[in-house]
Amino acid sequence: MEELLEVLNEAVEGVDFENEESLMSDKLITSIDLTEIIAAIEDHYDIEIDMEYMIPENFESAQAMLDMIEELLDA
């Protein structure tokens, strides 16, 4: 998780990724932030996030993103 938090904090500044549970619902990240996050995750983990994974639920919290990354790494 710490590794992901580092990636997220580097991609988007000023968001409490560690504690926030509803990043998308509470509009704490914009669509531009989201594309930054996707690009950073893809780069760091060497995975490709398909459009089917680009749903708000997968980006609501750092934990949700981690679950998605693990699923993609297993696939």
Binding site: S31, I32, A39, E42, I49, M51, M54
Partner: protein
Amino acid sequence: MGASMVCLKERKIMVFTTLRFLAFLICALIVFAICPRKHRWISLLALSLVFYSIASVKYLPYILFTTLVIYLAAMAIGKIWDKQKEDLKKEGLSKEDKKLIKAQAKAKAKRILIFALVLTVGVLCYTKFTKFLVGPINKALDAAGSGRTFSAANILVPLGISYYTFSTVGYLLDVYWKRYEYEKNYFRFLLYACYFPHILQGPIERYNRLGQRLKGELLFTWDNFIAGGELMLWGYFKKLVIADRVDIFISSVYGDYSHQAGITIIIAAILDVFYIYCDFSGCMDIARGVSQMFNIELDLNFNHPFFSKNIQEFWRRWHMSLGGWFKDYVYFPVSTSGWVKKIGKSVRKHGSERASKIAATIFPVVITWFLTGLWHGTGKTYVAWGLYYGFMIMCSITFEPEFKKLTEFFKINTKSVFFRFYQSLKTCCIFAGGRLLTRPGTLYMSAVCVRRVLMRGNLRLWKLTDGSLFNFGLTYKDFNVLFVSILILITVSVLQEYGQVKECGTLRERLNKENFLIRWILGFGLIFAILIFGIYGPGYDSSSFAYMEY
């Protein structure tokens, strides 16, 4: 706008502001209420088809074609995903085997998706863009000495084609991206596409929301009837008392744009912001109110956009269903596509992190806004309008750090009421600038209007007090009505926004807790205001909702 009004009149559309529509609504509610609950969705489908056919039966084949193509394509794609799921369950498959199964399924699904998109978006482009392209094509043929010319006079632009094409294409893409299951019943899908409260002007609903609501319990209750009626009344107030009154002034000013004083054009531009907001959001309130009477909630399309801090936020709160559609189906696919990522990486290698972020943002933003412009209209004015917003949004993103530093340097309290007011005012000015590109009619007319505002000695501020403003179709009494109505609109908007920020419920929820008498006084007050102050004179055109032509 004038030509489109004539066009709409010829089509005999049941616009929300006509008595014909109210008569239809009463009949629809009776049919809906007496129909057995289980079959109410069928009654809604029949009523929607009747509503659509009244404008012209000629439009029906278009909507049936689009919905059938999308329905069949989504079903075919859905079956491919089902088969893929089954194939992946087989035992003894290596990682490579699984990848191959996925790749083969994806290739098949993609072919179907492209075929369906070409057919449906092709119909949309053909009906909307042919008229725009015929002129230049004929000119080119003429220059080449060919005697042939094309005519686009007989091309029909089916009502609501942009709305239902976008809604159904969104559904197809969601099935392709495995976001939800495909619909098995074509008639259920057809109802989603042609449901009459939203067919003409949106909102562009998502299938996983409206489709599911239409499958829910379709109740007819007194509470829903009253709540829907209240929302409709508020919509009629915005449309008939404010928008239609303001429209008389604006049309008159821009009708003789080349002789106007700068201050007159400035006032027309400011009032135009109220016009388009009251016209479109009023229409949405009526549509949502009508739908609520059938116990079906339509998505919110406006969320007090003029309280936005910047232009990006504005477009998340104005015509939200269109903005959301472009964000999900254009912006994200483009911004996460391989070529945009490559550009970002390449700029990062040779430049700074910030430059890379800007480079990776500029293409998706410009493409999205160019297409948003085309959605609104096919002329150069709309292309310019789209690019104008693309430019404004890019400026806002690019210079955000500098602006933050400036506010810190001058120790500006960014949370103060004054700063919020400044942000709202700035957003309104940018929006008014965008309207000035499209409302006068052509880019040349817009340029003349801007020139007349900036022209030395042409501001002529005394026109504000010498009674000249009463020469544009509105009397002193009309201006008083407008002033009070706009004050009511702003007060209601502030109260609604306050309720949202403080999370103490919507204004309607708060009003519902009030005394029965207060609610009835407010309701009848609105009815009388609409009846007495609504615009119904000889110059009144009930079919002129601005967003109906899309």
